[in-house]
Symmetry: C2
């Protein structure tokens, strides 16, 4: 088998790639005004992707396109999603499809077949339990793909259900119970770096919960969205990393690919500068994680 | 405002429509062999939809296409999903898009915009809480759309997280806490029949939990999948209905639209017979609900 998604991630970070995941959420109103002005929405999105992909690939190992911003344009939008994933992989990036699917077994098979062909890994909902993840897990075990299961989401409303306390769990919350399940689902699947293909989404907006969630799922890569526009701070995320600087990917969307005004002529330079700054801030937090405290 | 989704549902059932929701999960291997043999997958699916829609519309008020079986064919599959929804609405059916989406606010907006244009209602994940539902709720309040939030799913693995007991909740499980949240999210939105646009998905495979979940969310239409292939029995579902025979929709997929072998020449007759039998069984259970017990 070729190197798995998580093993490749480990190799890249150990060889100096920053733990950066660039969220690609193409809101039309935030695309450069001068780009493919005459095309329809999916064509404009693909043109934007084509323009930014080399810069992203120079400064980050992972692209995370959110399918919602493609799917809202119907079938042609969905084709653009496939094309953006293809462009990213051709540029040497790993692709995490931010699809947040979750359905019963036979339906999950249909999702797993398509979405893990298009991307190296996907985000999934935990609510239906292990059997809903099984078609994805089969491709993790057999073909080296990866999944990130929603444990603690970055939105304010996350507290409503995820903070409910489980009885007999020593004060454990629903989100923590999901973290324990994520650890269970990844049992026996760890790679040579100690990480399983069953990762977790943990909002960077909840830094005080990070160390506890990290401890509950030591084998899981944590995908941390919510820095920047949503209020999360990179410097709070050191507890997500292990002593080698592995174990976490910090995701930024608007702060990188929407860091310009639509009429800025130098939008590509601005994106590259934002990528450099993001990578630098992540290397600092990795170093902080490496220092014995 | 035109009649809302839930109000229309109430009117249809009171005027004699059975509480039937027909799941449209187009597995290619289960399509009639003789149908559009030369077309690609999306074309074959649309041809099948076109052929069965009049029969479905004669015997059921609601179609529930599961987008996974379209989306797995990429962009053209997604176009076929839109076309099937259009055909169903043109035939007079209400459409519940079984999309099971769930994402943070700004992303949820993109999903809500597209999916509640294409369908009258959609299924959604609860895990992210109220703010992730808000863009959908806005269209429920403003345009009469509906949502069904996953409370208790039909799969065996549902127990893993949904059965965890909440502390201080009087023995309440996570699924029951979600039911309470669903009731809360629908507060103040009830129509003249007493039902809100915030419905719930409750697997027909858990009949012993039905009465308790019904009581926790008296304003919610319950969408009950899992009869037939998954083991749920229509006759166990009386507790889901109120004394007028309202409040629940029973969904069947494989038992109706895959009730034939691909080479059966009389597949359309078989589907119509299955529709008639399903409607009849649902009228019986509605009657049972109407009898004072």
């Amino acid at each position: 088998m070729a190197t798995s998604f998580v093993e490749r991630l480990g190799e890249l970070l150990l060889s100096g790639s920053p733990p950066a995941c660039i969220g690609f959420d193409p809101r039309l109103e935030a695309l450069p005004a001068g780009l493919a002005r005459s095309g329809d929405a999916p064509a404009r999105i693909v043109a934007f992707a084509r323009a930014v992909m080399p810069a992203i690939a120079r400064h980050a190992p992972v692209l995370k396109p959110n399918v919602a911003f493609f799917e809202c344009h119907g079938g042609p939008g969905f084709c653009a999603y496939e094309e953006v994933c293809r462009l990213a992989r051709a540029a040497g990036l790993l692709v995490v499809g931010d699809v947040k699917r979750g359905d019963v077994g036979s339906t999950a098979e249909a999702y797993a077949k398509f979405h893990l062909d298009v991307a190296d890994a996907v985000t999934l909902h935990p609510y239906l339990g292990a059997d809903s993840l099984e078609p994805f897990l089969a491709r993790c075990r057999g073909e080296g793909r990866g999944i990130f299961v929603l444990a603690r989401t970055s939105n304010a409303g996350a507290r409503e259900l995820q903070d409910l306390e489980i009885s007999g769990g020593g004060g454990r919350t629903v989100a923590e119970a999901v973290a324990v399940a994520i650890d269970r689902w990844g049992q026996g699947l760890a790679d040579r770096f100690g990480y399983s293909p069953v990762g977790a989404v943990v909002g960077a907006t909840w830094p005080r919960e990070l160390a506890r969630l990290r401890a509950l799922m030591p084998r899981a890569w944590l995908l941390l969205p919510g820095v920047g526009a949503q209020g999360g701070k990179v410097e709070d995320l050191a507890p997500a990393f292990d002593g080698r600087g592995l174990g976490a990917l910090v995701s930024q969307s608007r702060g990188v690919l929407q860091c310009f005004a639509p009429n800025d002529g130098d939008w590509l330079d601005r994106i590259e500068a934002a990528l450099v700054a993001f990578a630098q801030s992540l290397r600092s937090v990795q170093s902080a994680a490496r220092r014995p405290s």
